[in-house]
Symmetry: C2
Subunit: 318 residues, 2 copies
Amino acid sequence: MRKPYSIGIDIGGTNTVMGIVDTRGNILGTASIPTLRHSHVKQYLDELHTELSVMMERTDAIGKIHGIGVGAPGADRNGVIEYAENLPWEMPVRLAELISLRFGIPAKVTNDANAAAIGEMTYGVARGMSDFIMITLGTGVGSGIVADGKLLQGHNGLAGELGHAIVRPQNGRMCGCGRIGCLETYCSATGVARTAREFLHSTPLAPSILHDIAPEKLTSKDVYDAAMKGDSLAKEIFEFTGSMLGEALANFATFSDPEAFVLFGGLAKSGDLLLQPVKRAFEQHVISLWKGKVKILLSELKDADAALLGASAVGWTV
Amino acid sequence: MRKPYSIGIDIGGTNTVMGIVDTRGNILGTASIPTLRHSHVKQYLDELHTELSVMMERTDAIGKIHGIGVGAPGADRNGVIEYAENLPWEMPVRLAELISLRFGIPAKVTNDANAAAIGEMTYGVARGMSDFIMITLGTGVGSGIVADGKLLQGHNGLAGELGHAIVRPQNGRMCGCGRIGCLETYCSATGVARTAREFLHSTPLAPSILHDIAPEKLTSKDVYDAAMKGDSLAKEIFEFTGSMLGEALANFATFSDPEAFVLFGGLAKSGDLLLQPVKRAFEQHVISLWKGKVKILLSELKDADAALLGASAVGWTV
């Protein structure tokens, strides 16, 4: 019989959050440590081990852990981090192996968007689906692609970099990756702020409460708040953002023929403000084979727990 | 022990070609019947059965067939053809089941581009690869995506419609599918002829032997022949076509992180004329993660046998 609990570890740029989770996604206990306190990965793992040991004892989970799942930036398919901008340790870090040895429990490491996809499939809105695409709309845009019930990995473990799919090959926005017209430049939180600055600049006389905010300080949250107050320019910004995303999803459908797209992350919390134009643009742009057939859903995982749940879901797959 | 032979059946709009193939891709015997002779699928299968029985006897293959693979237009993941423009039979046709029952041998049906991908993986240039994308450049553009050693199917068995990925969302060409800017409108044989007509029309004074051909009669073969004779306008047309394809492949890489792209079909026979600009544009447009890392290869399967070999390769997977 499978052991009843999984450990999830989400390694963020600031904090590392860990927790013990049961098969239904109930969180028995959580703890967190600063990711950057130790410049040597060994000391970091020592602290992680201490915290988790205490938690396992407290929740009566010792000997009952099926596996450890880890969400970490830049992890390849073997659980090795070759390079991660925000982590202080000497690279490469063979993280899956190190954690597995340290805890005596099998461990698997994947990147954040992939963990989110597995989490959604295990506990969330994609339960029972074999083919779907998770789109994470945060500071950037990430993605995790599930095909035939398994995460698409690719030759180097880098599959699903859909934030850098080019949606405007001509006259597109400059992306941080050095290329032009990436999805991320339009449909991330920073993309929304960028759209707001463009719209405000090009229509200086359009009435909008967003004019009251200094352009360089404008955030996607400001645009959301304004839209919820009925500001029509702010609503137009969401309309534009959703249309760009829907058009991109229509193109992604030609690739893996998904049953659904699941939207996750800060922007996805905008609900219908984003979802309606996404759906409209998807139906308008998708090839007739898929018209009316592909679900576009918002994540059901609570934002605070989603990364942890995603990581713990990976723990079931070791 | 696995039986030594596989039967491949390629159902084309005009002829159905069948053959018996060994594990190395040697063809022991082939035959062909007209696809459209019978308006009832039962009679068609009777004739298929007669031809194959004779062939099996002649090649001493009775009792030695591992499976039957079929390449057919419009087949879904269960081997059912729901709709196919060029087939005369009453739809839907449960082709995999019908063939399997008729021959007493397990059968699997897939569409032509998928069969080509499996063929390339079994006998061709993608041997040993787990992650690659097959692009078929014919009258249209098709694709078959292999991920983790298996064909990507998708929720409805329709994965890999990359000919209808939109590469020019703005000011793109009208596609037969009713949308704008599909890859197929640029990088198919008909796309090349269309580019030629556009270039000839917009530069009426550019010296080119292509001016000697009536625009409506111009084919991609004419452009190829002219380019091989050194015609600079014709070379420019290939340069444009290859650039569009390379740019599209760079976008496709973000999806499944392939080890290679394999180009197949009429246009792929243009060799370096097409391959050089494809490679150049790919490296120019791909995100830095993949620069210099993804192979772009031409199919190694002989054109006349490729569809048959692809179908027979599917026969090994029953």
